[in-house]
């Protein structure tokens, strides 16, 4: 019973704050609403007993991406600036498309009986996760782990190259 109350609290927070995220006119407030959505999602992961994933969600999303987004908002727009929304026709058409898509998906979900399987829960503590991430047998994930680390390195270098000021080029042309 307690878990149901917690679940409905978290899911209500997720739905309300997602809608506020996409409708709020103040960009900084939208970012803070997104933070609430991500923290509630971490709560859902805790309920599903994936503690490590919830911790990663809190540190990477709530601690990293939101701070990055807030910094870029402060760099690119004034704090009192109101976001401009789409025109009425476009808003109406998007709302219609979204409601149609959501209805279709919900009908499909509610009419499909998922085959419940109650096997032995595999351990999801940090030790098991760490072993699985670097092993290469049938339950190992060494290849995706390495691919993601190379992707992160490439993204880091790319972000630095794209965002830096082009002082070098200016100096070279002045010579």
């Amino acid at each position: 019973m307690n878990s149901e109350i917690l679940f409905f609290l978290l899911s209500g927070m997720i739905v309300i704050f997602s809608i506020l995220t996409v409708t709020s006119r103040r960009i900084l407030r939208a970012a803070v609403y997104l933070l609430f959505v991500l923290v509630s999602t971490a709560g859902l992961y805790f309920m599903l007993n994936y503690n490590f994933l919830a911790a990663v969600q809190l540190t990477v999303y709530a601690g990293g991406i939101i701070v990055l987004i807030i910094f870029s908002i402060l760099l690119t727009s004034h704090i009192s600036e109101r976001a401009q929304m789409a025109g009425k026709f476009q808003g109406l058409m998007s709302a219609l498309a979204v409601i149609a898509g959501a209805t279709l998906t919900l009908i499909t979900i509610l009419n499909f009986s998922f085959p419940g399987k109650s096997g032995i829960e595999s351990p999801s503590d940090v030790k098991a996760i760490g072993r699985a991430l670097v092993s290469y047998n049938e339950n190992g994930y060494a290849l995706p782990f390495e691919v993601v680390s190379i992707l992160l390195l490439a993204a880091m270098i790319g972000a630095i190259i794209v965002a830096r000021k082009e002082n070098l080029a200016v100096k070279n042309t002045k010579k």
Partner: protein, 105 residues
């Protein structure tokens, strides 16, 4: 912890979140708020992976690791997107998609 909660509840939550993100992506004009809508969409997909993993295949961890990797990809995507947005702001003095139309055919 999830004793009597059926799998469908998690799927309903993630569906609502996904389509809210799509609505935001279609109606917003500011590049940063569009990026935030994409984060909503990625996050709803993560909920789906994790719920399917816990309810349908509890004896291994594929969905768990897939959502870990999705989180890493989302972080990389946010970093590169914000670098591009800041560069666009330097060149155009605005990050509204209406005003950044130099490449428009």
């Amino acid at each position: 912890m999830t004793g009597t909660i059926p799998l469908q509840y998690f799927l309903i939550i993630s569906t609502l979140m996904f389509f809210t993100g799509i609505y935001g992506f279609l109606t917003r004009k500011n590049l940063i708020t569009m990026l935030m809508s994409i984060e909503l969409i990625l996050n709803s997909v993560n909920i789906n992976f994790v719920a399917f993993n816990r309810y349908l295949y509890p004896d291994n961890l594929h969905g768990h690791f897939f959502s870990l990797i999705v989180i890493a990809v989302a972080a990389a995507e946010a970093a590169v997107a914000i670098a591009i947005i800041i560069n666009i702001y330097r060149n155009f003095r605005s990050i509204d998609v209406d005003k950044v139309d130099e490449m428009k055919f």
